[in-house]
């Protein structure tokens, strides 16, 4: 394959680093879970890293994001550090939710990332409102709202997209079709062939993309984002991928056919991007190895540092329920 690289070397390597960092953090969490060292559950986006990576890479500094449970690369792509993420997952008082949540429900709003709640679909109108506010205040913001194939069955999915369409709010509604919603394949969630067919019903444009190809996805999203900044309208973007693990680590995903997993394993987003980078001669094997090593070191050090951070003090339990006047 020999395609024109709209993507700079820096951008490509940053994307690779983003995916690697998320992958290594999640692998660490998986290991800790199975060693019985985690309180609560562990939910990963392993195999789906390209989506958050490419969308954040294509985004602008003022954009807003509402990631879902598998979107660690949205956080990393916006600059959230491994240290911050481990602090969150380990329930440290130094983490973004100060131990009040210890799971995927976090976000650094100063980087434009909302902290999700669990109710599927409920964040889509939130990011829509955030974009409306920023634009009224003169900022050139567009929004990125992520939702799973299963989440498209919620009323909120519909209300939010329609609301954004009627009010001309530029949000990319990114459907991550990872082919399963917990234990059920997509035939239990929808009957259209491809969810992109929903776009017409909202009077908006719809696109499909290979969710594992960060390079191509970034090119597409860059174009969409540029257009949306000119003509503020939402779009629907359906990314095809596969959830490579169980819903959470408590789930062995025995309901996913092994052949399907094997086929998608061959299309691992990190491997695909590495290949592209090599083809584009953006980095040598040695350089890539160094990157991998640097990421691994960051993960190891961050985990250790987070472990040493203080746990929340029970005396602070009821602090901050309300904001002070």
């Amino acid at each position: 394959m020999n395609r024109k690289a709209d993507i700079s070397k820096d951008a490509a390597l940053a994307m690779l680093r983003c995916m690697l960092l998320a992958r290594r953090i999640e692998e660490r969490m998986v290991r800790l879970y199975h060693q019985g060292q985690i309180f609560g559950g562990v939910y990963t986006g392993i195999g789906q890293e390209a989506i958050g990576t490419a969308t954040t890479s294509a985004a602008g500094p003022d954009d807003l994001f509402a990631p879902c449970i598998r979107d660690m690369t949205v956080h990393v792509g916006r600059g959230t550090t491994a240290l911050t993420i481990f602090r969150q997952f380990l329930g440290r008082v130094t983490g973004p939710t100060r131990g009040r949540d210890g799971n995927v429900h976090y976000g650094e709003i100063e980087r434009g990332v909302f902290s999700m709640i669990s109710h599927l679909g409920a964040m889509l109108p939130v990011v829509t409102g955030g974009v409306m506010a920023r634009r009224r205040l003169g900022r050139d913001t567009i929004g990125f709202a992520y939702i799973g194939d299963g989440g498209t069955s919620t009323g909120d999915f519909h209300e939010a997209i329609n609301f954004a369409a009627v009010l001309d709010v530029p949000v990319i509604f990114v459907v991550e079709n990872n082919q399963f919603a917990y234990s059920t394949p997509t035939s239990y969630q929808f009957r259209c062939k491809n969810l992109v067919e929903r776009a017409a019903g909202y009077g908006i444009e719809g696109f499909t993309a290979d969710g594992n190809d960060a390079w191509a996805l970034r090119e597409l999203v860059s174009k969409l984002a540029a257009k949306m900044r000119q003509q503020p309208r939402p779009v629907l973007l359906v990314c095809e991928t596969l959830r490579m693990r169980g819903h959470g680590e408590h789930d062995d995903a025995s309901y996913i056919p092994r052949e399907l997993l094997a086929a998608w394993a061959k299309r691992d987003p990190i491997a695909l991007l590495r290949e592209r980078i090599t083809q584009a001669q953006f980095a040598t094997a040695t350089e890539l190895a160094a990157l991998e090593q640097a990421v691994q070191t960051e993960v190891d050090e961050s985990y250790q540092q987070a472990l040493n951070d203080p746990l929340p003090d029970a005396a602070t339990l009821t602090e901050g329920v309300y904001a002070d006047g």
Partner: protein
């Protein structure tokens, strides 16, 4: 100071108008609130004065309305959204309970948003246009709940609600909209949330209440005074969350007998919380059991004969107070 006689509804409109004038970050939206002025005409004229960028209509999507308000509120605006009827907020209550109410605690981010919700019955609205849902909102951590009874409070508390850094549910009893008027100064100051008001003094019993029932309680109390049966204090709570428990305890201390009155359902109604607060904090001050006069646990009926029986009013309060004073 120039004054005018204004309705409860006009008081709300004046507060919104002043907020829009003084605070560029305030926006209003909801169903039919733009050029139409809303189902009850509370926002009449505001889109014309402030433009469609600040006062606008939305699709019939309560969850999108509440959810977007949360997002806006975190990004520098102060949205004031209208639910056409409080009843319809139940289609999107997860946005309040899970998103808005937990946000500051989890993330330290404030969401200064106000949800205006017309509620209550007394005019043949039937089971889906008359609900009283305050107990739901009061149960949510992180939410404030304001429920005024007089035009002066409606105006002054709405301003404070909108300027509060927290999500506030502001309940507007529809019966009051046009039934209650006050002569008020054209100049006014916001009043703080969380402060109850003794709107009739008394020594023999206290009625703890809010919203439309304040007026019914006042009527009953006046009658009891006229009949020389007793002097009953009426405490208008005005804000249900935070609750002015000190004022409640002081009222019980002054009267030793308590009747709680509200228009919503009995079981787990907000009156239960009030009774519990009294039982915990003022037990030793009581000369009689705490009474609750509420709607019964049944859907709000349409037919006037039934709705009259359903809804507490001055006559029923009078009867309950006579019993309480005789205990």
């Amino acid at each position: 100071m120039p004054t005018a006689e204004i309705t409860f509804l006009e008081a709300i409109r004046q507060a919104l108008q002043r907020l829009l004038r003084e605070r560029s970050e305030v926006v209003l939206y909801g169903q039919d609130i733009g050029s139409f002025g809303g189902a009850f005409k509370v926002t009449a004229g505001l889109q014309k004065e402030f433009g469609a960028a600040r006062v606008f209509d939305t699709p019939i999507s309560e969850s999108a309305i509440l959810g977007s308000a949360i997002g806006m509120a975190t990004q520098g605006l102060r949205p004031v959204v209208e639910m056409q009827f409080a009843d319809f907020m139940m289609t999107a209550v997860h946005q309040l309970l899970n998103n808005a109410s937990t946000l500051h605690y989890r993330t330290g981010i404030a969401a200064p948003m106000t949800v205006r919700a017309p509620c209550g019955g007394g005019f043949g609205g039937g089971p889906f246009h008359s609900e009283e849902l305050e107990t739901f909102f009061c149960h949510m951590p992180g939410i404030k709940v304001v429920y005024p009874a007089f035009p002066a409070d409606a105006r002054a508390l709405l301003y404070s609600a909108v300027m509060d850094p927290n999500p506030v549910v502001y309940l507007e009893n529809k019966y009051l909209y046009r039934h209650v008027k006050e002569w008020l100064p054209n100049d006014w100051m916001p009043t703080p949330l969380g402060v109850a008001r003794v709107c009739r003094p008394g020594t023999d019993a206290v009625v703890l209440t809010y919203g439309a029932m304040v007026h019914e309680a006042l009527r009953a109390a006046e009658q009891l005074a006229a009949e020389d049966v007793g002097e009953v204090m009426v405490l208008d709570l005005r804000t249900l969350k935070p609750l002015d428990t000190d004022a409640i305890v002081a009222a019980v201390a002054a009267t030793n007998r308590v009747l709680i009155v509200h228009e919503g359902w009995h079981t787990s109604g907000f009156g239960a919380e009030l009774a519990a607060v009294v039982a915990e904090r003022a037990f030793h001050l009581l000369d009689a059991p705490v009474g609750r006069l509420t709607a019964p646990d049944c859907p709000i009926p349409f037919a006037p004969e039934l709705e009259k029986a359903y809804r507490p009013d001055a006559e029923k309060i009078h009867k309950a107070l006579v019993e309480l004073l005789e205990y």
